[in-house]
Symmetry: C2
DNA sequence: TTGTAAATGCAAATAAATTGCAATAACAAT
DNA sequence: ATTGTTATTGCAATTTATTTGCATTTACAA
């Protein structure tokens, strides 16, 4: 994801059964602009006057259910959100400054293995995988 | 972790540079009693009169820094915490009812691989890995 | 014992997420 | 194009989660 055309976003929304409103289009557009996961606060600042915080919460929650947005935990008291369109990927996060870098590893195989060993589950829909360390800058 | 002796907890705290206070001992003892990650709310109910919520937050935060507690994301608006003593493990979580099952897979190897490909990091200290699905009970 | 720094409890503040509801907009069906 | 229906929105108010400040207390080294 780098940039998404308005029509592309409208199509996505309709396909998932949503009305293609300005607010939701703008939200998805903002998510698509950056490849790092974003906070509600940051999104709501950039969507001021277009889509308020309450609705960002509501939209993101439903998008997560639909499966094209993912909530990510960076060990903070608030969540981070990103589109799951395109290549699914994971992150390496600096525990000092919060810097985020994408990593090109994935737990697909582990997911299969985990499902095999599972007692109470017959399916796994998704997984989260984040790595934590101290970045080179903070190391001094 | 199943159960930790008082002296064992005191030793751990001292080793990590903390004063072995009743509150912290009780907190760690509660964490050790269950193998599922626990919420602040649940902990603070069980520690009523012994260690208040504020201090549970403070203690857990410092224990995370020390490395023997981990905060886990189950896609809720609040955190879950567990001891990382003993075998490090991951979870399979029901997105409907919140049921948690331990899984016996780990991303150790992926961690090494991720570090190799990392640009801004020269070390990785930890990782989180959670699987999400719908449990058999909720499937009806 | 006792001094001292760390830890605690309590109150209050801030931040994050959720809910209710009347007004509005999207879009399917005319 | 117009209209009716229903999802969606904005706003205000709540609730829940987390953090901070500070005076008092406690652990423990000396």
């Amino acid at each position: 994801m780098e940039y998404m055309k308005r029509e592309e976003i409208r199509t996505l929304l309709r396909k998932e059964g949503y009305k293609a409103t300005e607010g939701r289009i703008a939200l998805i557009s903002e998510l698509a602009k950056k490849k790092e996961p974003q906070t509600i606060l940051s999104l709501s600042k950039r969507l001021k006057g277009v889509f308020d915080e309450t609705n960002i919460y509501r939209a993101l929650e439903s998008f997560i259910t639909s499966g094209f947005v993912r909530k990510i935990d960076f060990q903070k008291s608030h969540g981070y959100y990103e589109l799951t369109l395109g290549e699914h990927h994971h992150h390496l996060v600096c525990t000092e400054c919060g810097k985020v870098e994408d990593v090109d590893v994935c737990a697909d195989k582990l997911e299969k293995k985990a499902l095999k060993g599972a007692k109470s589950f017959s399916n796994i829909k998704d997984h989260s995988l984040e790595f934590f360390g101290v970045c080179k800058t903070c190391l001094r």
